[in-house]
């Protein structure tokens, strides 16, 4: 009996995997057409990075002084996930971007902007999205696009996406360089943060041949807002935990509309 049961379950599993694979093939070759009777267009979601309260420009490979801790540092990498982008229609329901997973990478101007396509034309009164990757997609096996494990934003020994990488150099840390990999999607170490911004004062109008833009301002100085000076942190933190959860939350929570 047991053998029969095991083989049965295996057969079912293989069928599921094959069905899944075929479906994915189709997705790749024929993008799902949107409803034919709705005209769609796009908008841009831009992430601008500024430094500290003064909001001076933030750039990689530039010496920055943290106003609160006095630490000097140069960032060499700042990458993070933005996912699950939705905009609110006039009837109060939300339109959701399909397969909405993106990596914002400060080293590449093009990768600080997300073009959100296939949006039904119309007026929208709010936007929401997540910093990080929702918990379900941390436990869903191999994926592609921004969730491809080749992006280097996934922990192989302690599975889950690295929601944010902040790396650079500083005289305040032993060895002279720092590397904070921030992640965690469950329990007290959940760093995934949903943000919602009202657009009522200046609604988003999506219309063919226009390029409306929503600009979010993010401030990497906030990484150290609660945890304080790098002198009291490990130079390298490559796992979920209280320190990186705090750093990620402080950064994500402080993002505002420009």
């Amino acid at each position: 009996m047991k053998t029969i049961k095991l083989s049965g379950i295996l057969a079912l599993f293989i069928m599921i995997v094959f069905t899944q694979s075929c479906k994915n093939d189709d997705d790749n070759s024929n993008p799902t057409p949107t409803s034919t009777d709705t005209t769609t267009a796009h908008f841009h979601l831009q992430f601008n990075h500024v430094w500290a309260m003064a909001e001076s420009p933030f750039a990689l490979n530039t010496e920055l002084i943290h106003p609160m801790t006095g630490d000097t540092m140069k960032f060499t990498m700042l990458r993070y996930y933005v996912s699950n982008i939705q905009v609110k229609k006039t009837d109060g329901t939300w339109w959701s971007e399909a397969n909405s997973y993106h990596i914002i990478d400060v080293s590449d101007a093009e990768q600080t902007e997300i073009e959100v396509d296939d949006v039904p034309e119309g007026t929208y009164s709010a936007i929401r999205f997540m910093f990080g990757v929702d918990s379900a997609h941390n436990v869903s096996g191999a994926q592609d696009g921004a969730l491809s494990v080749s992006e280097g934003m996934f922990w192989s020994w302690n599975n889950g996406y690295i929601m944010m990488k902040a790396e650079g150099t500083s005289n305040q840390v032993s060895g002279g360089s720092f590397s904070y990999h921030i992640g965690g999607f469950s329990g007290t170490n959940n760093v995934v943060t949903q943000k919602e911004f009202s657009l009522e004062s200046s609604p988003l109008t999506v219309k063919e041949n226009t390029h409306p833009e929503i600009v979010v301002k993010a401030n990497p100085a906030r990484l150290f807002h609660t945890v304080g000076s790098m002198t009291s942190l490990s130079a390298t933190i490559h796992m979920p935990g209280a320190t990186t959860t705090q750093m990620g939350k402080d950064f994500f929570d402080a993002a505002v509309l420009e």
Binding site: S7, D144, S148, V149, S150, G152, N158
Partner: protein
């Protein structure tokens, strides 16, 4: 094919099969710890691979949450294969035979990490061990011997809570009272002090091929394992509450060993025609 190809490691010296050998139920030929690239020694015992479709998590500490993610851990571990998945995919794309096979299997022109992981998961999932003497007894094809039956009854009283039938594990993480364990186990993943020294309960199938035993391979033989559960359990704050010293008699140990032998699947381990 991928499983046995050292191209998956950074210097093309180590394949999955190097430490997961079919003749040992896909464990490492009796090694306590395994040797990766540059003669480096890993931190835990290479577990056997079978019936993984039913696993709820992977690795001794449960750090891998999906079968498709499993191959990444050894590939990217610096002590094991020391590679980066991105580079593995680039190398595979330079090998026409792999490109052809992926094209046939998935209809894709170039190999991507997703389909590589799909292919690996397909192979790992196909490693089913369900043809032991125990399985024949359950199918009504033959009876246990008297000694095996006594061992089975004893197993059901003393071992089945954690090593639950028919897969002989409940996939939980438990501290089984080993002495001198510096490895924090499950706590490495959850960071919870209550998970200190807890490891995933391994299956009891194919024990004759998957020696030595425990997360660090400290016990070479099954009698040593039984001695541990009989009288050598060390108390600690995270010791499993279900676990008490069992004080097996010599006869009981023989009965248990006889029963455990019925869980070997020689066909699976390629040992039917030596």
């Amino acid at each position: 094919m991928l499983f046995f190809d050292p191209v998956l490691s950074v210097d093309s010296t180590i394949s999955c099969g190097s430490c997961h050998n079919k003749l040992f139920a896909y464990s490492d030929r009796g090694s306590s710890l395994s040797t990766g690239i540059n003669q480096q020694i890993g931190i835990r015992n290479s577990p056997p691979i079978f019936n993984v479709l039913w696993n709820k998590s992977f690795m001794w500490d449960g750090g891998v949450n999906h079968l498709e993610f499993m191959p990444l851990a050894p590939i990217e571990n610096e002590l094991e294969m020391g590679e980066k998945i991105k580079h593995v995919i680039a190398k595979l794309n330079r090998i026409p035979e792999y490109r052809n096979q992926f094209k046939q299997a998935y209809g894709i022109d170039s190999i991507t990490d997703k389909y590589f992981l799909f292919a690996m998961a397909q192979f790992l999932g196909s490693l089913i061990s369900a043809n032991s003497a125990y399985d024949s007894v359950q199918l009504g094809l033959k009876p246990f011997s008297v000694t095996e039956q006594s061992g089975y009854d004893l197993y059901k009283q003393k071992c089945a809570t954690c090593h639950a039938e028919p897969l002989f594990t409940d996939y939980s993480f438990r501290n089984n009272g080993l002495a001198n364990t510096s490895d924090s186990g499950r706590m490495r993943i959850t960071l919870l002090p209550e998970d200190r020294n807890k490891f995933k309960v391994p299956s009891l199938r194919n024990l004759d091929y998957s020696f030595p035993y425990m997360h660090d391979g400290r016990f070479k033989t099954l009698p040593e394992v039984l001695d541990h559960y009989s009288e050598n359990i060390i108390s600690s704050p995270t010791l499993d509450p279900e676990l008490k010293p069992m004080y097996f008699s010599e006869t009981e140990k023989e009965q248990l060993l006889a029963f455990l032998k019925t869980l070997n699947d020689p066909g699976f381990a390629g040992r039917l025609n030596p």
